[in-house]
């Protein structure tokens, strides 16, 4: 089925198998990195190929030599047998997605990110039909203080990509995780707790990495009509580097 299984690779190349397909990898790569390089899709949310893996959402869970592990942080071994697209694993991924949906407030029809949202697209990909669990309906006020950007924390999945982008790329530390357990939440770097009082700008990398609809540019709402957005045209599994594409 995959063109990769027949891709010639040099004999010294180390490989593992992903759902039966041979995937080459090099020292230091994690399973998902090698899989992506080979054009294979493993569902993921907190992983973004441009950043150091975080390993928190667990959507990228696979079975590697019989043991379940997060493929964004696990490095493959030679001839490792990795299974990803199995009923059991996809069932578990769906349950994790449902957990992410019910712990926040996700009203997709009214969300500016709808169609460009990785959470939504991954839920479609994995045939998630209902939230299954009871909603937690947390109370998370918006931050509209900034001139250009709005923060809608209701949709935050705590992937920390914004925090990683801000510290590793922008050198700013605008975003951090705070609290613990189910009360974990995102904060910004100002005494008032408001985005307007930070040094955040629209040119920051952090402004463009949110996989869901938390960090939203103001006054361009619905510039790309629903139906014409990244994941409206192709499912997420067929869209390369969705975050980057979605942001530009």
């Amino acid at each position: 089925m995959s063109q990769n299984s027949n891709t010639p690779h040099n004999k010294n190349q180390t490989t593992f198998t992903l759902d039966g397909k041979t995937i080459p990898f090099s020292e230091g790569q994690t399973i998902i990195q090698a899989a992506m390089a080979a054009g294979e899709y493993i569902p993921h949310l907190c992983f973004n190929p441009e950043f150091k893996p975080h390993g928190s959402c667990k959507i990228c869970t696979v079975t590697a030599n019989g043991r379940q592990t997060a493929s964004c942080t696990q490095q493959p071994q030679v001839d490792m047998m990795v299974e990803s697209d199995t009923k059991q694993i996809n069932d578990e991924r769906r349950a994790l997605l449902q957990m992410l949906f019910v712990e926040g407030n996700h009203f997709c029809p009214s969300c500016e990110k709808s169609g460009d949202c990785q959470l939504q697209a991954t839920a479609y990909e994995l045939d998630m039909m209902s939230p299954h669990f009871d909603h937690f309906s947390p109370n998370r006020p918006l931050d509209a203080s900034h001139g250009e950007y709005l923060l809608d924390f209701n949709r935050c999945i705590l992937c920390s990509l914004c925090a990683r982008a801000s510290s590793d790329v922008d050198g700013k530390n605008v975003f951090s995780l705070a609290g613990r357990g189910i009360k974990t939440h995102l904060i910004v770097n100002s005494k008032s707790g408001k985005l307007a009082d930070t040094d955040f700008t629209g040119d920051d990398k952090a402004a463009h990495v949110c996989p869901v609809g938390v960090i939203i540019k103001k006054r361009v709402g619905f510039a790309v009509p629903i139906g014409k957005r990244s994941f409206d045209e192709h499912p997420i599994s067929a869209t390369p580097h969705p975050i980057v594409k979605g942001a530009i």
Binding site: G55, Q68, A70, S176, R180, I187, N189
Partner: protein, 601 residues
Amino acid sequence: MSQITTHAEYLDPILAHYKLNQHNLLQMLREAQEHFGYIHPEAIDYLEQQLQLPRSMVEGVASFYSLLYLQPHGEYRVLFSDNITDRMLGNMDLMESMCGQLWVEAGKVSEDGLVSINTTSCTGMCDQGPAVLINNIAINHLTQDRINSLCELIRERVPLSGWPLEFFAIEDNIHKKDILLDSNFKFGSALAEVLQRSSEEILQEIKTSKLRGRGGAGFSTGSKWEFCRTAPGAQHYVVCNADEGEPGTFKDRVLLNSYADMVFEGMTICAHVIGAKKGFIYLRGEYRYLLDHLHAILQRRRQQSLLGNNILGYTDFNFDIEIHLGAGAYICGEESALIESLEGKRGTPRNRPPFPVTSGYLNQPTVVNNVETFAAASLIGLHGGAWYANIGTETSSGTKILSVSGDCAHPGLYEYPFGVTVAQVLADCGAKNTQAVQISGPSGICIAANEFERRIAFDDLPTAGAFMVFDQSRDMFEVARNFVHFFKHESCGFCTPCRVGTSLLSNMMNKLANGHGSPYDFAEIEKLNELLLSTSHCGLGHSACNPVLDTIAKFRPAYDKRLTHKEYIPAFDLDYALSQARQMTGRDDTGAHLERIHVSK
């Protein structure tokens, strides 16, 4: 500006003591809090400026630990230990009485800012509960009389230093001693023995002893030390895990109180083997009262040349120990989270591999061992590995100290060679009509009467030490519910399955408790367990469903009596949802309730 200078007054000495090192952030925050009882926003301004750290990071760290506050929390901050053993001793009634006497609602600060009252996870005093922490200082053996006196002292604003000393008494309660607790250990004796021999030989003794870690996982101590010793790194570190957060465990508290030399000496032997110059004790914040005592012993050991440079005259053997205090986070007992916390960060478990033995504190090779493991290492240093290996069983050499609590005549510490049966322990501690024993705390296993011939050993009932006894009068459903609540409270929140799953599980248990459960919920709990087992990031998530699964399997009637429905019922309870409105309006008449269809309590 003037505010800043006043904050500088108390913060400067703290900053100087910790050398403006951001890895000491948690220590600095903890000490900064001692000034106002919370971390003042302007204190954060000052720390941010002096340490050159982003404010969001400082707040991110502070908000992770439940004993640190970013808002005023009262002059007196009262936290009731809420382990199931405290509950069995009536802590909830005492808390209600205290709230009533001091006019404050649990979980809130009184309007005059005098006092806040809340619950906290087990404070490690199960043998002498109900227990409370007031301004992070432990007070045990609560009775109604004692509560009345505490209320009086608080109302009159008497500083803690002026409270009757007997309130702060903490007992060791050692009921059965074996090689470790009965060793009459002389400080320096093991080290004098060990330093005459090469580090290779000592490592071999540890391996020969077959010592396995006492913190729960039971990893071979010899192998751990060897991995660390051979791992490349500019520095090697020894870390003693004294976080002891597992509900029902309190043996490390006693070891540090009365056997600290054995622990420090074990760490020093480890330093000799792995080539470390520096060690840390990570002491749980709830054991703050031990800090001065431990500092005094460390100081004495330095004077005795048992720590510091050229230990016992051996040139080039330099090693010292620093104490770091935690601030209320069970997850910091997990070794990689502990290391994050030692580095002054949020206590989130790391991705592994690499493991601490190759990349631990400051990414250098690090040994993390439990308090009891180090104490045992001292004994091995003194008497040799072969002697130690002869005690206990084939898979489990040596002795194990159990922290016994719950329904028994003599709660406290019991030391046995491995292989002792549960029945023997129950007989020794004076337990009658025992229904169940929770071995190794909520993350361990719950066993029923037909299993009491099982043995304490790594290949039968492995344990970090907790041994909670429940007699026939106890409701095992409520035991499990208490444990589930614990996991929810202590989940670090890093990974999806545990962050959300522990809340879901807690909601399901509440739903069952409210009489809205159906057999459908059991299947849901099974599914949740599988998900947490296979996808959680660390051991907390892996074991979070254990208490429920064990009690469903073994004490099914406790669940069945709550099942009033055969069909699935949604958890949403409209009447319950209105309770907030009732509270705000002060109404509780029938008109303020929806018709009750379900039994609810």
